[in-house]
Subunit: 296 residues, 2 copies
């Protein structure tokens, strides 16, 4: 289907994790909440069939995008040749999934090097190892990028915050990596949740990435629904308009408003109430500021 | 020495880690950069003598505060009785250090439950364990609070972001814990770096803590020098003025402006350039907004 300017979607984690065929009934609900697409986590082999997901999602009026899941056993930055090879194989398999699902984008921390969610503490590394990691990641992304290019899929490198990875934390670093890979099928994606922790100036960081931006995730500082935190959405929308960004924008409001002491906040949990109206309001809010930025 | 309204200080980590007697020459430099106090990490037994630190710091015109370091072997939230007891012993020893150094405040994640820096991933916990953790922490803080009260020291409970702990992430949760402990020697401290990731509205969170606030850390969203990020300092200062907060404010600009790809950002590293002028500017900036808020 033809993509309209800045289609807005939602990550599957807002509803369920893992996401399986038993959750396909949610696609019409996403559409009813104003979504244009669903961003799915790349399924593990036993989770769902991408063609089946495409059929149900398209019938509901949604297209699909995919987000990678990296871990210590598939880590492009790893010095272990088997782990590095497994990461390349995973990215290529993710491209195959996207292709089967009619998805044009596979994004996320493609470079690997997970920290807190892999139970790994940040540790100093020497300059030779820093350079070697960059070389391993760049070479792996060239292989995966060539594979993606042949299939009409774009890989999107996402910087994460300092606690989730020690490889790529800034928009400028993701752009540097994309330039080093030098593939038309490898670009940059940005998530305001991570940017809020790392960037000096979020709109300036978006403007500096410019035409390399291929995907965007609009999240509040705490991952709640838009407008419940302090991200300056009008300024973000003006920056996206300034670089002519017409690509997709995903909402990932998967923080639950759980204010109980001693309840792990970073640990994913299912929604406890129907959040459809909150999601619809976030999309309306975002469409409103995008419209205002376009006419400003 | 008599404390003036909102004394401004700096964390020792901005200069060195570990901090030892060989770093005491830095106290006059801190003073020359406009600092009123130094916040030191509670020394491990072999690091430095707190009375010696006091002598040198006081001679330079600084007073001292202390920040705790928790880890998996001293964790007040732990179900392991030995680890829980070690955490209480550590907090009491930290009070002794503070007392010897003439310090009135010992703050930080007193409750334990470290995540990323302990190499621990967030995991779901059941309701019985959640309640049991709260009970263990509350009971431990009552013991340490009684010990602190007898020595004129105040313990300050600091919420950390979701990746650094899974026990206390919000100002309201720290206030709830302080109320449960119900000791005049146990209060709340807040750090805008963590608040930036977790709170809906930073000034509102400060106002809600109100008179329970006993310590404050003023940090940019990315831990750079004040004014290099997006924290709304005027609004923060007005909230502090509104609750009549006259206590200390620590600067912790220990993020280095290292923009190299693949360089671990969460991993502490020493400064590479003389940052005295940047620190002095942060203090001047903060005194300016505090003054404006007081007269507003």
């Amino acid at each position: 289907m033809r993509m309209k300017r800045n289609p807005i979607g939602v990550i599957s984690m807002s509803y369920a994790r893992p996401f399986g065929p038993e959750h396909f009934f949610l696609f019409p609900r996403m559409r009813a909440s104003g979504m244009d697409f669903c961003e799915l986590l790349v399924p593990e082999p036993d989770e769902f069939d991408p063609e089946a997901a495409r059929t149900v999602a398209n019938a509901a009026g949604l297209f699909l995008l995919f987000a990678v899941r990296v871990n210590a056993s598939r880590d492009l930055s790893s010095p272990d040749p088997a782990v590095h090879a497994a990461a390349i194989a995973y990215l290529c398999a993710a491209v195959d999934v996207a292709s089967a699902a009619g998805a044009r984008i596979v994004g996320g921390p493609l470079y690997g090097s997970p920290l807190v969610f892999a139970g790994r503490a940040p540790m100093p590394i020497g300059e030779p190892e820093r350079a070697a990691r960059i070389a391993r990641v760049t070479e792996g992304l060239r292989v995966a990028g060539a594979y993606a290019a042949e299939r009409g899929v774009t890989l999107a490198i996402e910087p994460l915050n300092r606690f989730e990875t020690d490889f790529c934390n800034l928009a400028a670093q993701a752009a540097e990596l994309a330039r080093a890979v030098a593939s038309a099928a490898v670009g940059v994606m940005l998530d305001t949740f991570h940017m809020n922790m790392e960037e000096d100036d979020l709109p300036a960081a978006i403007r500096a990435v410019g035409s390399a931006l291929v995907h965007f995730q609009a999240n509040e500082n705490h991952r709640g629904f838009l407008g419940t935190g302090h991200i300056d959405w009008a300024a973000i929308a003006r920056a996206l308009a300034a670089i002519g960004y017409a690509g997709p924008i995903t909402l990932e409001p998967f923080r639950r408003r759980d204010r109980r002491l001693s309840a792990p906040l970073a640990q994913w949990r299912p929604p406890e109430v129907d959040e459809d109206a909150d999601l619809a309001a976030s999309a309306a809010f975002l469409r409103g500021v995008l419209h205002a930025a376009a006419v400003a």
